[in-house]
Subunit: 315 residues, 4 copies
């Protein structure tokens, strides 16, 4: 394949990795048991919390985002547990598949792929669950397949209004560090994220931000786990280390990406995405095409899905 120019990724993700990040990763691997590594580990483990807006723990896996979905489940649930998952698009459907492979019973709330999670529907389902058999609510924050962003604060209010103890698990793979997101303030229990979108890294690392409540849930969660085990991660993390060989070069990249985010400011990054997304929608409208997302309050600022005219496909 002959490239006479620069390769631009024009897909929903991974996104274009800045040269600064690629160059930071292009460095010799250091000893992952050394004092120098501990500094790196502590810096990125601390820095990433600011991106999730959490004072709690964030664990990092050498894994694709799919792994972080699995991690969120196996650390908090037991075989046969019941969860509510909103059909928001292709990725909600994939996550459902993961859950079912682990013997979790999924109440899959149907959706038309043009709206986000329905908080009112959630509230009534939870209110009806008097015995609290529902252990968790699963939401994809930003559906990569539809360009619809669910309103997590309303989801939280739905749970609270029903006075239900279910955990709230949110997938932010295509939103974190691109769209406003607040793990602590919004009362999320587990936030799932990946390296290859807003964090500006190549694929290969994924994340779980964990609330105190989620952490306590590990005590009774009986799904088998080893690689994804939060407790095994959190112990060495305290001193900047990892229980198994970490992806050192991705951590170099993460350090640089965190630096870039501090330089620009998270809020400015969000506004930049908002502005570009509005520009994109303006163009789509000018072309006379339809936007998939039918609720303006749920427009995604990181991607816009468009209906192609009859007789055409995306290519």
């Amino acid at each position: 394949m002959l490239h006479t120019g620069r390769h631009f990724l024009q897909i929903p993700g991974p996104t274009n990795v800045p040269d600064r990040v690629l160059r930071a990763m292009d460095a010799p691997v250091i000893d992952h048991r050394s004092a120098e590594f501990a500094e790196l580990g502590k810096e990125v483990l601390e820095g990433i919390r600011g991106v999730f807006k959490t004072a709690g723990a964030v664990v990092m896996y050498p894994a694709s985002g799919t792994g972080a979905w699995e991690a969120a489940l196996v650390n908090t649930l037991s075989p046969g547990d019941r969860v509510v998952l909103f059909e928001t698009g292709h990725f909600s459907s994939l996550w459902r598949g993961v859950a079912e492979k682990f013997g979790i019973q999924v109440d899959y709330v149907p959706g038309n792929w043009r709206r986000g999670a329905n908080a009112a529907e959630l509230e009534s389902r939870l209110a009806a669950d008097r015995n609290h058999t529902i252990k968790a609510v699963l939401v994809v924050h930003n559906e990569t397949s539809t360009g619809v962003t669910s309103r997590i604060p309303e989801v939280r209010r739905g749970i609270d209004a029903a006075h239900h103890p279910a955990l709230l698990l949110v997938d932010t793979i295509s939103s974190l560090a691109s769209i406003d997101y607040r793990h602590d303030e919004w009362g999320v229990d587990v936030t799932i994220a990946g390296s290859q979108k807003g964090l500006m890294l190549p694929p290969g690392m994924s994340f779980n931000a964990i609330s105190e409540k989620a952490l306590r849930a590990t005590e009774s969660a009986r799904l088998p786990r080893s690689y994804w085990d939060w407790q095994e991660m959190l112990k060495p993390n305290r001193s900047g280390f990892f229980p198994y060989t970490p992806p050192t070069n991705l951590l170099y990249g993460l350090r640089e990406a965190l630096k870039m985010m501090r330089e620009e400011g998270l809020e400015n990054i969000f506004r930049r995405h908002d502005r570009h997304a509005e520009a994109t929608r303006a163009a789509v409208r000018a072309w006379g095409l339809g936007i998939v997302c039918e609720e303006p309050r749920e427009y995604s600022s990181s991607l816009t899905a468009v209906f192609t005219p009859q007789g055409h496909d995306a290519d």
Copy 2:
């Protein structure tokens, strides 16, 4: 930390990554659903088979080596299954921990950490297991903590002599591409490997080479699995793709590393390691220190463990 020179890793692993590999990884991420990616995928999936010396399938995970241990187990075993694992050192003990977390019953054959797996002992254990309750034999090929290399062909002969159907699972994390290894010829069912040693890559990718017999075992294996599921991997792999976002830049690095291995020749690489290991042992002897490995036929060519004199530690 002030580095006035080049950082050299003098640890058992990860090893120093060649500049050619780092530079190959330092490139824009491409679309993992594109024709160009398929070429890359097919090239590395095909090339890696030559390193394992297998005509069968090799799957690649965005994961640390620990993940590939887990993958080997969850794809082939069921809760409560019994396995034999040889105590060869620290890493055999960690692998045992992974197995037990999944409810696998481990017959841990004691060892003195100065010898490899005992094939005669294995044969008698398997011969005694008339009901074939033992489902797998687990061996660490090259114990990173001791510098002892188990003789896998003898282990194979031990299983065959007992006419036992147990699967043979071998960890080659610190031996593959450094020390002679032959997945097919030696009748191994699952070979576990990582990116960060003989394959000359940064950490972040790990491997399972899979025999036909191991693949059939997935049909009855009831341990839950999603991220590690071979069947999910093998389907898209056939056309060069992956079921979830692959670690594209590590694949760039793997392509370059495979090219370097072809240029030098695997057999020459093995001889180079043999030569350097013998030089290391000569130095250790000249210093009057003891070598941990007590069986010359089991000397590791990728690392040499040494007894430190009374009153000194490794630093």
Copy 3:
């Protein structure tokens, strides 16, 4: 300065350096007196001749393009020598300045900056110079300030028609490897080029392609020279070496750039530039703006200069 995206150079040069070239340069310096270096030296010295389309010698200087202008003069001329130079734009004027600093008498043929060198005018000037006091004809092939490409074959025919022995010196800094150019076939004596445009390298290296006739001219040329001395260069070049420390990393980059040019094919590269230039002119016309170059046969394929409307500047 905050870069939230990729930096694109939208200036007449240097041009965007391909990642492959940057990465090739990002490598340890090797011993410039070693056998390995000799291979590199021979490869690039041989390869670059194909780009100039010459069977003769090409010398490379660690220097900006300005240095190669100076080199062309000091190797072939003596103080007080007379040359003809066509006013084609800003760069012809700068070259004139260099010549005059060395005491060369420049017949500067006036031009309107919208046309290339006038071959008929040249022929009549040379025909009038019966005593052959004019020692060289200097032409800028592609004027970076105007987007006009002089027709060198016609300039050559002008000299031949006048039966004049003057050397022909051509600056191809913004045309080589972008626009059709043939050092030997067009009878050019010295071609001047730089690294930072069609050769796709960072600035820092420049070139002289030298005809046999130009080489003979060094014997009588009395301008003082040391750094630029062709004879000093050509001796070690024969075995792949350089008289002083060469810019090794730029040579790595040149090796890669030559490889890329072979992969695409010089003629395809020219056609690609022709196509993009025609597209640019179509856009300029559609915007209702004027193109500086007034002779379609002299349109530059590497850059297009445009008249800005009254009350606007280029920014």
Copy 4:
């Protein structure tokens, strides 16, 4: 050529370029007429003065060190001018060759290649030159071919004691940023340096630090010059720009190298070299070999030349 490990340069120069510097250079070229470039230009032009320890101007050429020798001469001298140059080794002899090509009359003070410049001899030669026909004194500070470092402060005192107005030109190609050097304090008029040794950059850039007196000398210096013309350089340099396309990527590298030097501290860098040099000499003595430099006060801290035993060569 098959490299199975890292390439280490074990030659007098270029030296090993730190990864940080290589990576900093591995970046897109920016517009050399932009505000962003001006910041870069000002930063490196300012920073480099600290390395030379001068409050005056330093000019940078896209050129090998040989070019900076030529620049020092053509900016300060006229054809037929007389200079004193000390025979200290191979490089003093090469510099002599450059000077003679420009018609400069060189009084080459013989030396045995085991001692530095003789200040007493200089004083008597200058004292004898009552008509001040000697225009400059040329000294190689650190002779790369011998490992002898001339004592520049004593050379300065020799000139002062003779009350002679000759300029002092010093080549620090293999000493700057490795060995203590003070352009202003030692009263040097032109200091010549290259990028590829103590400055930790690849070859391709060279320097002249210029005293006020040297700058005034340009007014009467009649050697022709264009590329090397200080006055042409200094004008745009004031605002961070260059008169012709600068070697942008080398400037990126220089910015990083200056940062590294600030982090370690120039004085610590000198002490590190002193320490390594003494360690080298201790090894040479232990091997029973002879050190070329016969005056301990003139031992070079950046390289040590050793006599090979009868029947052996350096390889």
